[in-house]
């Protein structure tokens, strides 16, 4: 089957989730990917939404994090203070699944303002939501974001959610217990932080994407892994389930 680059991105993100993991899911692409994973290789994936639904098993894709289907299918529904204090904060969540308006070479995320300054922004974005603490407290973070020169910047205009700051050791200094962004999945490929420098490195390209495009759509001098991989295309089953979910 033919597929779009967004479909490839979503499938790649879904594949990054191991069965049985507990996943704190943002709305949009992360939610689509997590639900795809649950319908394919990871039936026991536990979806936690910031609206307070734990173990939701939606039979259709929720349009917002507060859809009734999440409450109806959850193992437990708790209040919003509890979901952050009892469930996210202590580090019980395996994977935090985030989107980004801007992402920089050290995995920091901006969803607040672009351009100008904070009081007089060029573009005012929705803001933080649950992301700062998801990025801080989950055992690891997966970012799903379309790779464009506007989004992939040298340094984010505003740090809404902390990745690796400006390099190694900063998370540890700040006392953050989660490991931070382990994986960035885009419509072009996959980036991972270099274990030494913490800079995001391109480690794989999706089928049919060339390296020049990835470099071109990155706002910094993109480092590429020596053993640059090549992802598998979506299977027919993955595409069928994804399209069933999103129609």
């Amino acid at each position: 089957m033919t597929y779009t680059s967004d479909e490839m991105m979503t499938v790649a993100a879904a594949r990054a989730l191991r069965d049985g993991a507990v996943c704190f899911v943002g709305i949009g692409l992360p939610s689509t990917a997590a639900n795809l994973a649950r319908r394919t290789h990871a039936p026991d994936l536990v979806l936690v939404y910031e609206s307070g639904t734990i173990g939701a098993k939606p039979d259709r894709l929720p349009l917002s994090i507060g859809d009734g289907v999440l409450a109806d299918t959850a193992v437990s529904v708790v209040g919003v203070p509890e979901i952050f204090n009892y469930w996210l904060q202590p580090g019980r969540i395996d994977v935090g699944f985030l989107g980004a308006a801007q992402l920089d070479r050290f995995g920091n995320i901006n969803t607040t303002v672009i351009g100008g300054d904070y009081r007089n922004p060029g573009v005012r974005l929705p803001g933080a939501g649950g992301a700062p603490e998801i990025a801080a407290s989950c055992r690891e973070v997966v970012v799903v974001v379309r790779q464009t020169r506007r989004a992939f910047v040298e340094r984010v205009d505003f740090v809404t959610s902390f990745g690796f700051g400006s390099g190694p050791g900063e998370r540890e200094e700040l006392g953050l217990t989660g490991a931070g962004p382990r994986l960035v999945i885009t419509d072009l490929g996959v980036l991972r932080p270099d274990p030494d420098t913490r800079e995001l490195v391109l480690t794989a390209l999706h089928p049919g994407v060339d390296l020049a495009t990835a470099r071109e759509r990155t706002g910094w001098d993109l480092k590429v892994a020596d053993d640059l991989g090549r992802g598998e295309p979506p299977t027919d089953r993955e595409l069928a389930v994804l399209r069933e979910l999103t129609r």
Partner: protein, 265 residues
């Protein structure tokens, strides 16, 4: 004991010019009808508080009711941006909008502190982000046992809280279920409170997952069936996603918005 009253009277009693007021609801049970009544009554100078200001706050901001917004995520869920909010922030129209911006965890804990009668709450939050530099009411606090430095947020004390619920009984005890958000905390954090409900019933039959607010912490209850539309009331209505999508076009243009305002007058 809560007074059961018509919406207009209840809003007039509970929401006053210059108030710090939260119309809470986490996608679910958003008190749209009460918010529209606030617009009709021409309230001004409000500090609007909410974790997830969405279309209702876009409307209140566009109508000129607000001077400040205290929030953690402002968008049209599943659709995109709030254009009246953006217009106020970026161009000061119809009036400038001061912002106080938090994370969800920070806002939720600010409500908890106020509901608990404490001046602040402790959390692991905002670490490494640019938010504390721009936002008052975030500070640090040292654990007296371990010496660890944590984040403190100031209690979010409200003059008024407005929420929507499925039911109340004739004594004014309120019952809501489904996604319950921070509604209980908002009511307990407020000096005055109003709950609009789908229906007033003789008896609140127990429901799984229900939060019940006893009558003696609620000031006013108003029966407003459909009062959460275009948001929804679990087991009573479904979310009108088409309206949220349509709002994008209405709110992009000041004239279109003005027409919408007239439609609710």
């Amino acid at each position: 004991m809560a007074t059961i009253a018509p919406l207009a009277e209840a809003v007039a009693q509970v929401v006053r010019d210059g108030d710090t007021v939260a119309f809470e609801g986490f996608t679910h049970l958003i008190p749209f009808a009460a918010g529209h009544e606030v617009i009709r009554q021409g309230r001004r100078g409000l500090t609007l508080v909410r974790m997830t200001p969405d279309v209702l706050y876009d409307q209140l901001i566009g109508a000129g009711c607000a001077r400040k917004l205290v929030f953690s995520w402002g968008g049209n869920p599943g659709v995109g941006s709030l254009h009246r909010f953006r217009d106020a922030v970026q161009h000061g129209w119809p009036r400038p909008l001061e912002l106080e911006e938090h994370s969800h965890a920070g806002m939720a804990n600010r409500y908890v502190a106020a509901a608990s009668g404490l001046p602040f709450a402790v959390l692991r939050g905002y670490t490494g982000t640019d938010l504390p530099a721009q936002t008052a009411n975030i500070a640090s606090v040292t654990c007296p046992f371990t010496g660890e430095v944590l984040t403190a947020v100031a209690a979010l004390e409200l003059d008024a809280a407005v929420v929507h619920a499925q039911r109340a009984d004739r004594h004014g005890n309120v019952q809501l279920w489904g996604i319950t958000g921070v509604q209980k905390e908002a009511v307990l954090a407020a000096t005055r409170s109003l709950v609009t409900v789908e229906e007033v019933v003789d008896e609140l039959e127990p429901r799984p997952g229900a939060v019940v607010l006893p009558s003696w912490v609620v000031d006013y209850v108003a029966e407003v069936p459909g009062g959460a539309h275009p948001s929804y009331a679990h087991d009573y209505s479904v979310r009108d996603n088409d309206f949220y999508v349509a709002w994008d076009a209405i709110s992009r243009d000041r004239d279109e918005f003005a027409q919408w305002l007239e439609s609710i007058a």
